[in-house]
């Protein structure tokens, strides 16, 4: 990230502890770090820069107004994301109504054809992922597109569990979902991203080699 050194989780916890103790020296670092995180989450959920910046500000405002309600600094990341998720939902309710979609498991499995009751499996060559900056940027775009195409419920799970590395339980609490639903959605979301990357490897990487 440019201009924002990503913090490790224990540094986040320490900043939260300092802010609870009333030490404003931690304020700017905390704001810079979580503002970028909330912006990324809400940008991926809203796909609108202005909305994402407003969500980041509104969520941080709530965070500071209620900082004394954070009983355990160790839970600061999931607590902040819970507030961000609610701010994002409020923002989305005010704008466009997006109907929830569910993905079936099968649509993300590798290309298959029925063959006497059995199925055929074809997978791209993943042994060499792109290492040049241009291809890495293209691959990031492919990941971003895949995440962007997920239904909202799957996208939020992947962003929190797969990108922000909340635990399964934290993700479930943040999103008010049962743990089993988080696991199912995470798997489907990963399969969807894998499929997009598989397609990317079949086309873009081969095109560069030729």
């Amino acid at each position: 990230m440019i201009g924002c050194q990503a913090l490790e989780r224990d540094e986040e916890i320490e900043l939260a502890r300092q802010l609870i103790d009333g030490e404003p020296a931690a304020f700017d670092r905390f704001v810079e770090h979580f503002r970028a995180k909330i912006f990324h989450y809400s940008w991926m959920m809203c796909r609108n820069r202005e909305d994402a910046e407003e969500v980041a500000q509104e969520a941080l405002l709530k965070v500071f107004e209620h900082f004394d309600q954070l009983r355990e600094p160790g839970r600061v990341r999931s607590w902040v994301f819970r507030i961000a998720k609610n701010a994002c939902l409020t923002k989305r309710r005010r704008s466009v109504f997006a109907p929830p979609r569910e993905h079936s498991f099968d649509e993300f499995l590798p290309s298959m054809g029925h063959d006497g009751g059995r199925l055929k499996l074809q997978i791209a060559d993943w042994s060499r992922l792109p290492d040049g900056p241009m291809l890495q940027a293209e691959m990031r775009d492919a990941v971003e597109q895949a995440i962007g195409e997920l239904p909202d419920g799957h996208r939020s799970v992947l962003l929190l569990r797969g990108v922000e590395e909340l635990s399964t339980e934290e993700t479930a609490q943040t999103l008010d979902l049962p743990v089993d639903v988080v696991k199912t959605r995470l798997h489907r979301a990963r399969l969807a991203v894998r499929k997009k990357l598989d397609e990317f490897l079949r086309t873009e990487v081969l095109a560069v080699k030729e």
């Binding site: 201009g3 704001v31 209620h66 900082f67 199925l119 499996l121 696991k183």
Partner: protein, 93 residues
Amino acid sequence: MEPHVHTKKCQEVLSRLSDYLNVDLPPDACAEIDAHLAGCPPCVEFAESLQKTVEICRRYRPAELPAPIGQEAREQLLEAYRRMLDARRTRGA
């Protein structure tokens, strides 16, 4: 790569791969998947590609960055923080 004859067992294994990769399955279910993978290189290949996907997602950050925070927005947040501290002191007094 040659098309692989993919069975219902493969399908069942692929449906549980995230839990397997997260080490989130009971030992007997893990052992069952291990046994299948030992004899099914294409499923291993698929599992490795999913594992790489997990790592790519973990490293992923959007190219889009927020604009630097404005002075007014920063003051608004700092004011909220100070109000929270004041209210807590008042409650504690």
